[in-house]
Amino acid sequence: MRPEHPLADVERSLAVPPRRRLDVLEEVDADAQALQAELERRGYGPAQARRAALRRVVPGTDTLAQLEAQHAPPLGRWARGTGWIDRVERLGIVVATGLAGAVACITILGTGALGSAAVLAWPQVIVVALLAANWTRAAKRLWIDGDLRPELRRRLWERQIGLIVLAVALGALGAAREVYGAFGAVEAEGFAPPAIWDAVGRVVSFAAFGLSAAIFGLFGWLALTPRLIDDETMEHRISAFFASRLPPNSSRRR
């Protein structure tokens, strides 16, 4: 098994933005190397000097907590200060979901897409609420914790895409169902302009609602993208940092 870098555990535990995480890793690593060299110069054996240097500079649990509090994004520091940090994700999800759900309900009730179409209208409301909840979770990790790891980021993005596709599909299905219903009504009762216009309105509202949900989901994620790109670049640099510090004979030890 490949030996792990002494700072790998710090990298995993330190929940701060990747840019800050890299700064801490590079600073501690450079100090550990220099301190080890200094202790060796003072007569310590290499292994003893390494242990002593790491004991002094590698952050422990309490130190990590302090660094997290210091390097959290401004919103996160505020949330910590008010003591709301543990509740903020749940609260954000409840508020965002509630708002999105309420807007969706009002839209559906306002456009009269209920009645027999409710079987597709309510799932649309649920999808919008889930989109809001998913976005809130990602936004909280980025702007409050400052730490959205690649694996979770990928999971949240896949979920977001899935929900967007579902919103469009439900909109299309609702619209198709309305078109089918309108044709049936024309066949049974003949061509009646008011009824046709009513059906067209329901078709358009279903399609528009599905599309709006998709746009809401996409643009919401787009708002996170600049930070996500920056984080991804930093994550690559963190990987490069560890790759460049592997012991030279590590591949032979496997």
Binding site: V28, A30, R56, V57, P59, T63
Partner: protein, 108 residues
């Protein structure tokens, strides 16, 4: 924000070391240990939150440098120099009060 006495002492120790000139984190840790005869030492990276707090407050300035590998050097700012003078005077006052109190207790 209320700063505990030990935190305050640690900050002043770091500022006192940097008063002699710019230094890397490990040099600060070693210097504190040597100059206090081992009475104060930074273990498990406890130095870094102190340095970063001092940097945020503008008492020290951190600069990244180094060839190939990035290294951070800290130096004292004017604000840090003033903070060190004020902090040292504060501590002296507090310890005098404490020593008088302890002396009084012993005498009783």
């Amino acid at each position: 924000m209320q700063v505990t006495l030990s935190k305050r002492i640690n900050e002043l120790l770091v500022l006192a070391v940097l008063e002699r000139g710019p230094a890397h984190g490990y040099q600060i840790a070693l210097s504190v240990e040597e100059r206090t005869g081992g009475a104060f030492s930074f273990q498990h990276g406890t130095l870094y939150p102190i340095l970063h707090r001092l940097e945020t407050n503008g008492h020290v300035r951190g600069t990244w440098g180094g060839e190939g590998r990035r290294r951070k050097t800290y130096e004292l700012t004017d604000a840090g120099r003033a903070e060190l003078a004020a902090g040292a005077a504060d501590l002296e006052r507090q310890f005098r009060v404490l020593l008088e109190l302890f002396g009084g207790t012993h005498a009783a």
